[in-house]
């Protein structure tokens, strides 16, 4: 699952690039000048870098939000509504990057997926490109069923089919609905467990990052675990969605 394209240690430390502000000549922090506050020409950087964060997955979201607000006040196009066209276009670039970065990093799943992408790991089951590929080649996308769920899923699919039939016939089987609700509760519990599992993978990754040198074995081990958790999560979430649909939630 985890397709490690890079086999050597590749971690890059946050780059505190030092440049001169085009406007006042002072040093700048990142996208805006620390001295005069003016927006700077866009510079390619990843989302972690944008916020001056290390590439770690445990992240203080409340702090990220505060940072987001501070940077919004510096970079938003409203601030440059009457500035030169050049500043306006920089601000548009910088604030769209800020918004994209914040949106991705504040969400635990999006953040994990983003890190995997940054590190060159494909998430087969859920990546859009895999779906695209399946469409182009006409193959059915590989369905991955978590082994511990095989039996339950088999049973659930039968129940779902029966419930759908009942729905179309306008019949109501209270027992069946109760069973579905129980299954759903169980699935949601599984999702919670997966959340914990993901958190442990984060901790492992963050520990590697802090050691500053990441060997290829450690790397593929921890990424494989993340991919596995994410795939199982997607699978279970789709099941929950199907149950909700049948229950009319």
């Amino acid at each position: 699952m985890a397709d490690s394209q890079n086999t050597t240690a590749t971690f890059v430390e946050t780059d505190p690039s030092i440049h001169q502000c085009w406007s006042c000549g002072d040093m700048r922090a990142a996208q805006f000048c620390g001295a005069c506050g003016k927006v700077q020409p866009p510079m390619p950087c990843d989302y972690f870098n944008f916020f001056g964060l290390p590439r770690e997955l445990n992240l203080d979201v409340a702090k990220l939000e505060r940072e987001f607000y501070v940077m919004s006040r510096k970079l938003h196009p409203d601030v440059y509504a009457r500035s030169t066209g050049r500043e306006q276009s920089w601000s548009l670039e910088a604030s769209s990057l800020l918004n994209d970065a914040y949106r991705t990093l504040r969400d635990p799943i999006a953040r994990t997926e983003y890190l995997l992408k940054l590190e060159g790991v494909h998430i087969e089951e859920q990546s859009k490109s895999a779906t695209e590929q399946a469409r182009v080649t006409g193959e059915t996308k590989k369905q991955f069923v978590p082994p511990d769920l095989l039996e339950e899923v088999f049973e659930l699919n039968m129940q779902l089919e029966e419930a759908r039939m009942n729905n179309t016939m306008g019949e109501n089987d209270a027992g069946l609905i109760r069973q579905l609700q129980q299954t759903k509760a169980h699935l949601e519990e599984k999702l919670n467990q997966l959340g914990d599992e993901l958190k442990r993978a984060w901790d492992d990754w963050d520990a590697l990052v802090r050691r500053r040198l990441i060997g290829p074995t450690d790397r593929s081990r921890v990424f494989a675990r993340m991919v596995d958790v994410l795939n199982r999560r997607t699978y279970i979430r789709n099941l929950v969605r199907d149950v909700n649909e049948v229950l009319g939630i």
Partner: protein, 644 residues
């Protein structure tokens, strides 16, 4: 004070222009010190400019209250609710045309932007909207005595890219630089948030003449962050009117054996009658629909509030789904919303208020006039963009895109690239390649909407990435960047990465005007827009002089006059004489200058008048004798402007 930025609410039913500044003067004695934002009234003293445009018999465009009689007298030469047609194609408006007496131009070709017939001419919806904007611009210029070139215009939050682009085009055609398109509910929250900066979660429920929006915002130290928005761009007071009109037409067909459905004049009269009854039912238990039909017949029908509510409930209930979705998308529960704000004329309907109360389990705010709050908010945003002031210096608006942006993939499925409720500006980068050897162009179809299949979404643009270097299939790597700007409008750029060549892209909006078309419309309207600006200024300055002289006359008879020192009175007398003398001439600057002098000289008189009880007596008397709306927004509350 050269570069004023005004805020404009370009509404389905009414449009308004507002401005944010400070301090009372003789001309604005009612403006409380804290109220910095005001609506700019038209020369008839009315704050609302009805969004009606007509072409009179002489071929002149008339707008607003002046155009309303044309709806009845010459319905084929007048148009209202044009906002419903902005950014839409012929196919989209088939449903609308059943209810609205819109006449499309006969020579429309498929794929062309709609054109509506007004008498012997035809106009696109952006051109008609531009006429309304031009009227508002004129009102503002009359108010300031100086040209106005920049504006913030509001749009329904749920407007898609094409509708936003059409609104921006309208601004350009009207000779306005549109600094920003702001979402209406967001603007309303700015107006409400101005004097009570606090943190919390706010829901804005905005039911207007033709559109419904709901937005949920997080307020934090002056940052207004929209976290979710939803709505329906075809749901509003118009739909309620249409239900009542249908009943009336049915009654008339049954009782009088008259089929008036195709009679434009009759339908307009009925429309006015049902609107009056609808408004009455917000404060009364029973109202009468009372219509004088063409030909002398009379149609009357009593309607109780109960019957009315039963009739409109299905329409009102359509707002529930979007509200629930917005709350869900915001990731909160209804109980976590601290405040609810009502916006739009239709929220005066008691049933609507009840629904909001039930839905959010909270008493909604109605302190600001629901017809004016959006324009006031637009003026606040205009102030922010114009450089800000003490009151707005910490304020920043972070809005979202209401609809997901996607690309049509193989099999007609939509691959979403920017999800709805993403903070804007937002961007996404996608990679494309070729499917055939030597292929030099790749077609891309961009859509907006939440549905799975492209055909169920709104088509935004189809374009070709041209100039791809010929390579084996699948080898080119074309990077396309999609960027939604702070106005909610999409920009696309592309690059072929293997050859490093910038691909030439043609973005063809599915239902939009090309840049060239807009330029032509600006040129066509140039004469009209700049028409005798100088002459108009003189007339308007004279009128302003007249107004201030009339106000002064009242002042002289007030108790406040006696409290002035002899020197102050002498200064006023002198300034007054100067206004009287110069008003006869044609020198705008001279008239303007003398008026400013008189304003200066009478400042203390105005203050004294405000402080005395006499003011209220005076105010009562004068409001009676003029049509001026009350409130801080009217320009000359102590005397009505007279026009020759």
């Amino acid at each position: 004070m050269s570069d004023r930025v005004v805020g404009i609410d370009l509404g389905t039913t009414n449009s308004l222009v507002a401005y944010m500044e400070g301090g009372p003067s003789l001309s604005h004695p009612d403006a409380p010190a804290g109220s910095l934002v005001r609506i700019i009234p038209g020369e008839d003293g009315s704050n609302l400019v009805p969004s009606v445009v007509a072409l009179d018999r002489e071929g002149q465009i008339v707008v607003g209250n002046a155009a309303r009689p044309h709806l009845i007298e010459t319905p084929e030469r007048a148009v209202y609710s044009v906002k419903r047609l902005m950014g839409r194609g012929v196919e989209d408006v088939k449903e609308e045309l059943k209810f609205f007496p819109f006449q499309l131009a006969e020579d429309l070709v498929p794929g062309e932007v709609l054109r509506m017939k007004l008498g012997e001419r035809s106009f696109t919806p952006p051109e008609i909207s531009a006429h309304i904007l031009r009227q508002l611009k004129k009102n503002a210029e009359r108010f300031f005595g100086a040209p106005v070139k920049q504006a913030v215009i509001t749009v329904p939050a749920y407007f898609n890219d094409a509708q936003r682009q059409a609104t921006k085009d309208a601004g350009r055609i009207a000779g306005l630089e549109v600094l920003r398109l702001v979402n209406e509910p967001t603007a309303a929250s700015l107006a409400y948030g101005l004097d009570r900066k606090r943190n919390g979660t706010v829901a804005v429920y905005d039911l207007g003449g033709g559109t419904f929006d709901v937005s949920i915002l997080k307020l934090n130290e002056g940052i207004f962050e929209v976290i979710a928005t939803n709505g329906d761009t075809h749901l509003g007071g118009d739909d309620i009117d249409n239900l009542l009109i249908a009943i009336a037409l049915e009654d008339i067909a049954g009782d009088m054996k008259l089929d008036l459905r195709r009679n434009g004049e009759a339908v307009q009269r009925i429309r006015q009658g049902v609107i009056d009854a609808k408004i009455a039912l917000s404060s009364q238990e029973v109202a009468v629909i009372d219509v004088d039909l063409p030909g002398g017949a009379k149609y009357q029908r009593q309607i109780s509030r109960n019957d009315f509510e039963e009739l409109i409930r299905p329409v009102i209930d359509r707002t529930v789904g979007p509200c629930r979705q917005a709350i869900k998308d915001a990731g909160i529960a209804a109980e976590q919303i601290d405040e609810v704000v009502l916006v739009g004329g239709s929220t005066r309907i008691p049933l609507v208020r009840q629904l909001v109360r039930d839905l959010f389990q909270r008493e909604p705010h109605t302190e600001l006039n629901p017809d004016e709050v959006v324009a006031l908010g637009a003026a606040v945003q205009a102030n922010i963009l114009g450089g800000g002031s003490e009151a707005t210096q910490d304020m920043l608006l972070l809005d979202v895109t209401p609809l997901s942006l996607g690309i049509e993939a193989l099999g007609g499925v939509v691959a979403k690239i920017i999800h709805r409720n993403s903070t804007i500006p937002a961007s996404a980068t996608e990679h494309f390649t070729t499917g055939v050897e030597g292929q030099t162009s790749v077609a891309i179809h961009v859509v907006q909407g939440e549905r799975e299949l492209a055909k169920d979404c709104r088509s935004l643009a189809r374009f070709d990435l041209k100039g791809v270097p010929p390579m084996p299939a699948g080898l080119p790597r074309i990077e396309v960047r999609f960027l939604i700007d702070a106005n909610g409008i999409l920009h696309v750029s592309a690059r072929e990465q293997r050859s490093g060549k910038e691909a030439e892209i043609q973005v063809q909006p599915s239902y939009g005007l090309t840049d060239e078309q807009v330029e032509n419309m600006i040129l066509e309207s140039f004469d009209y827009a700049e028409q005798d600006f100088a002459e108009r200024q003189v007339i308007e300055a004279r009128n302003e002089g007249e107004t201030i002289l009339a106000a002064l006359d009242k002042g002289r008879h007030s108790g406040a006059w006696l409290q002035l020192t002899p020197q102050e009175r002498a200064r006023i007398d002198q300034a007054e004489a100067s206004v009287r003398e110069r008003r006869a001439g044609n020198d705008y600057q001279a008239i303007r200058h003398s008026i400013d002098e008189l304003n200066q000289a009478t400042m203390r008189l105005a203050e004294l008048m405000m402080d005395t009880a006499i003011t209220s007596a005076l105010k009562g008397k004068n409001l009676e004798s003029s049509d001026v709306e009350d409130g801080p927004a009217a320009p000359h509350p102590i005397g009505k402007a007279e026009f020759e």
